[in-house]
Structure formats: structure tokens, C-alpha cells
Subunit: 328 residues, 2 copies
């Protein structure tokens, strides 16, 4: 059995899976925001213990625990740096791997969250029929993962920054500070800033009412989805703007790489689901140069995909089947 | 010994090289425009015969001849389709491989011109120190070639269309018909159309005088270079516009792939050379997301790179029978 943890800006999802990636136990907890990186490491351990408890196993009996993390992940050193989405003060490298291994009494492997999620979809989810896929994680930001000819392509460690492909020179400022990035239009954080700006300028929207009704302080994916269901014009406009940006950026990536399939995941991607994946596919169409457009799928593993993918970071023990089966 | 032919829209360049890719003989001839695809195949054979003559070898004694071609190249079938840059009527697949093999009495292998040029730079030119490179061929259009971890990445045969990455949604129309492609700003054909439009609108430029002085009917790379040397404002503006577009598009590709190096080739790229490669590098900077920007080099093999690269399509084994493309 292996453990997997998906560290996100709002939640921590832990799973314990068997050799075929079947989930035996899981636990979800909010990401602690007020106790620094140490508090996050502690919460990771707690979440994994709870998932292990649900699976009826001691953490120390696991073959290992994989962690998918945002920020700058150095898998060899076992550190995570620049994870400001998680804790605003998290800049210097934190030895998440060693600390968590101490806490849990088993090996810990770190991976980049989006790559881990892409590999999970490739091996177990919507990417199973293909050899080359582009994962597009449409959430707070827009992250990308690449599997080319069956293997993760990571460049010199930093590949996949599809959100910072330029789709409009001289356009909107991105939360990253640059101009015209796809994420400046399609990232949830950028969309929220634009919504707040438009709201402040006197434009009507139900977005912030829905946010308050749900006891949120941010426009979560659920808030956007509800506003769309209620026909809110600003939500519709900003989502349409995001989809147009995604269409241009994802088509650009496909023109460059000619992958077989695009898999749309992330908070907004999975929450909005199939209809919006079709709209992204349609928005890609005017920009797709290759004769044979890629298939476009919604991520199939849903909320647990990141954690299940993180567990894939742990090499399969020799006593277990090497080939993973579809998660149920 | 191997032969290599670079088929371009304006010229055909043939070489004969030894096993270490040293050029033993070469010949260049204008691409015939008035005799259809058949006339082009005939000219390819003539050019190769002349290069072989210069090398003191019979074509039939070569291990084979590689051809780098624009358009849709089906290497397995030995055909080229949609090569309208070469001959305006060239749409349906033409059996270039079999016809040329018959003419020359040796095996012929076809490849996509930009990929062939990228592989040549990777193995023999500016890309030699690296394992992953992006070739950017800045000429009539803007083509791209990818070598990832030492191997050409071709996707499902159509990868590398960097010129049709979107850098300005809602922007200029590309010669391909789409909107906002990098090539709409940076391709020589698009730049010429824009220059003609501005000239017609009454804007002054020396571009067309230089073109006529040189007995050209198009704004060739040489015409652009001369106009820049003479400080022509329109030429400077349109080249600056092209460089800004290249900066955004190439940076986007690097954000996605995190390659080690970018190699700038093509008619304009090699003609304008080092200073302009530095300007492209500078234009990339505001858009490069990865911490470690790629190296940017001018293609080192110059005008012969395409033909030398085409010769690399022929396996080194000297025992190859000369019938691979015959009777297919």
C-alpha cells in the first residue's frame, strides 16, 4: 500500500491506495493558513494518518508516501520553495520530505502537483488511451503537465507553465506580474480580481452574494459554478473571457506539440465539467493549425486525482502488479 | 557518401557529404515556378547531380539522398502535399521520393524542412552542447522544430507549428487565415503584405526601391537587411514588430517546454544574424516565466544547414540498398 497527498492552497487531500491505485482510505482537511510551513507539514501528516486509519494500516507500514505540491519542488532534495499559494510567507525551501518522513516513519517522495495530476490522468484516468497528453489544470492559476510518448516531460524541471504562455501581447496583467499571459484571463485569482474591479465600478453581480452565502472569502470554483447556474451576467462574461483565453493558449500548445489529447482538470475544470470542456474545445478550433485536432477530455479522477497521482510517485514494490488499473 | 537537398520556395540547395557530414560538393539553383511539381522534382535531381559531380561521385553510388521539404511530408509514403510555397498548384500528394529515386538510382528519404534543419543544428551546429532545443526558422513563415532529450519530437507528425501559436487574440490576420498567430507579425510574407499596405497608404519606405534595384519581385531577407542598414523607418518598425512577436511566442514555447536552447534560423534569422538574435532574446525576457531562461543562438550551419540536415535522413550504414523509396 502507498500513500498520496495533494497539497492545495485551500485543502489537503490524502489517500491510501493499493497496488492497483484503488483507494482504501481517504481524508480531507483545510490547508492551515496561520501556522507557517511547519503547520502545513504537520497537517499533511495528520491527513495521511487519518487516511491510513480509514484504510486500517499504520503509516509506517506503507511502502511510502508521495506528495504533490505547488511551488518549486526539488524532488531530489525533498524540498518545496515559493509555495505562497499555500502559505503567504513560504518562500525559502522547506524540507517537507524529511520532516514528513520523520513524522510518518516511511519514505516520502515529492512531486509537482500539476505534473502528478497529469501523470495520474495519463495512467489511470482520461489519458489512458493515449501516449501523449497535455494536462491543463484550470484553477487558481492555470498549470500544465506534459506526457510525451508515455513519459513526463519536465524540461530542466520547470516545463508545463502553460498559464504563462502569452495569448495577448499588451493585454491584461497576470498575477505573476507579466502581461498578456493566459492565466491573466483564465486563472481563478485573476478572474476574481477582475470581478472585484468590475463590481467596484458599479457593475452588478451575484458572485459576491453567493460567496458570502457560502461563508467563503474568495470566489471559489463552487461560487463561480453557482453564479453561472443562476445566469449571472458578469460570471458568464468572465468565464467566456477565460474560455476564449484557454482556447487560444491550449490550441497554441497543441500547434507546437501535436499531442493526442488535452485533459482539463483543476478546480474550475472539474467543477464546470463536460459542457465547459466542449466550450474550450470550440474556442480552440479557430486557432488549431494541425489537421487533426486533439481530443479534449475532462479529468476523470476528479478531486482525488492529485492524491492518487502523488501515490504514483512511490515505486511499485516487486510483490505487486506493475501495471495500474483504472481507479473506481 | 550521402546526398542532401533542401527544397525551398525560392531555391534548391543540394550537397554531397561524407560520413562526418563534411560537404564534398554542393550546388544551388532557383526553384522552378512554372513547371509544376514535376518540374521541381526534375530540378531536385539536377541539383543533386551537380553537387555529386562537384564531389566526384555518381548519384547512384551514394548511400542515399535525403530531402527536406516544406508542406505536408509523408516520409513513409515518400510524398509531399500542400507545398504551395514551392509551386502554387502543389496541393495533392506528389511521390517525390519514388520519382527522385528513379532519377538518381539511389534511395531517397523525405523529411520536413524545419525538422531536418533543427536536427542538423542539434547534431552539427549551434545545438551541439544541448539535449533539448527549439529551432525557430524565421523566414517566409515561422517554422519550429523540437529536439527533446536528444530526439526529434514530431507529435502525430505535425508538431512544431510555432508560427501559429497565438500571441495576440483578436490581432492581425495570418497568411494561414487565422487571427493573431506569431507568423501574422513575424513571417516574411505577412511582413511584406503589411509593408505593401502601409506603402499604398502613403507611408514612405525604401524597401520597394531596394527590391527593384536587386531585381527581386519580393521583399527577400536581403532586401530587409539592406533597408535596415540604410535606416529605413518602415523596415525598422516592421522588424521591431516581428521581434516583439517572436519574443512573446518563443518565450511562450519555452515556458511550456523549458528547453535548454533556442536556435534562430531561417532566411531572416540567418541573414540578420547575431544582433537580431540578441534582440529576440531581449524581447523574450518580459515573458519568460522559468527561472532559467534558455540560451539563444543563431543557427550555425547557415545556408547549407537544411541540405546537410537532409543528408542526416540517410542512415550512416554504407550497406544500404538503394531501393527504399523505389516502387513504393
Amino acid at each position: 500500500m502507498r500513500g498520496g497527498i495533494d497539497l492545495g492552497g485551500t485543502k489537503i487531500q490524502a489517500v491510501v491506495v493499493d497496488g492497483r491505485s484503488k483507494v482504501l482510505g481517504e481524508h480531507r482537511t483545510p490547508t492551515p493558513k496561520d501556522a507557517g510551513a511547519e503547520g502545513v507539514v504537520w497537517a499533511l501528516a495528520e491527513a495521511l494518518r487519518a487516511a491510513a486509519g480509514a484504510a486500517g494500516v499504520e503509516p509506517s507500514a506503507l511502502d511510502g508516501v508521495g506528495v504533490g505540491s505547488p511551488g518549486t519542488v526539488d524532488a531530489d532534495a525533498g524540498t518545496v520553495a515559493n509555495a505562497r499559494n499555500v502559505v503567504s510567507s513560504w518562500e525559502a525551501p522547506v524540507p517537507v520530505g524529511a520532516s514528513l518522513a520523520d513524522e510518518l516513519g516511511t519514505a516520502v517522495h515529492l512531486g509537482h502537483d500539476v505534473r502528478v495530476g497529469t501523470m495520474a490522468e495519463f495512467r489511470l484516468g482520461a489519458g489512458k488511451p493515449y501516449r501523449s497528453v497535455l494536462g491543463v489544470f484550470w484553477g487558481t492559476g492555470v498549470g500544465g503537465g506534459l506526457v510525451l510518448n508515455g513519459r513526463a516531460w519536465t524540461g530542466r524541471h520547470a516545463a508545463g507553465e502553460i498559464g504563462h504562455m502569452v495569448i495577448r501581447r499588451g493585454g491584461a496583467r497576470c498575477p505573476c506580474g507579466r502581461i498578456g499571459c493566459m492565466e491573466a484571463y483564465a486563472g481563478r485569482l485573476a478572474m476574481e480580481r477582475e470581478a472585484r474591479r468590475r463590481h467596484k465600478d458599479g457593475n452588478k453581480t451575484k458572485l459576491f452574494d453567493i460567496m458570502r452565502d457560502r461563508d467563503r472569502t474568495q470566489l471559489t470554483s463552487g461560487v463561480w459554478a453557482r453564479a453561472l447556474e443562476r445566469g449571472d451576467d458578469m460570471a458568464k462574461e468572465l468565464i467566456e473571457r477565460a474560455i476564449e483565453a484557454l482556447g487560444a493558449g491550449v490550441a497554441s500548445a497543441c500547434n507546437l506539440l501535436d499531442v493526442e489529447a488535452v485533459i482539463i482538470g483543476g478546480g474550475l475544470g472539474t467543477r464546470l465539467g463536460e459542457d465547459y470542456a466542449r466550450r474550450i474545445e470550440k474556442a480552440m478550433r479557430p486557432h488549431v493549425f494541425v489537421d487533426n485536432p486533439p481530443a479534449v477530455h475532462v479529468a476523470a479522477l476528479g478531486d482525488l486525482g492529485g492524491a492518487i497521482g502523488a501515490a504514483l510517485l512511490i515505486p511499485a514494490a516487486s510483490s505487486r502488479a506493475g501495471s495500474a488499473a483504472r481507479g473506481s
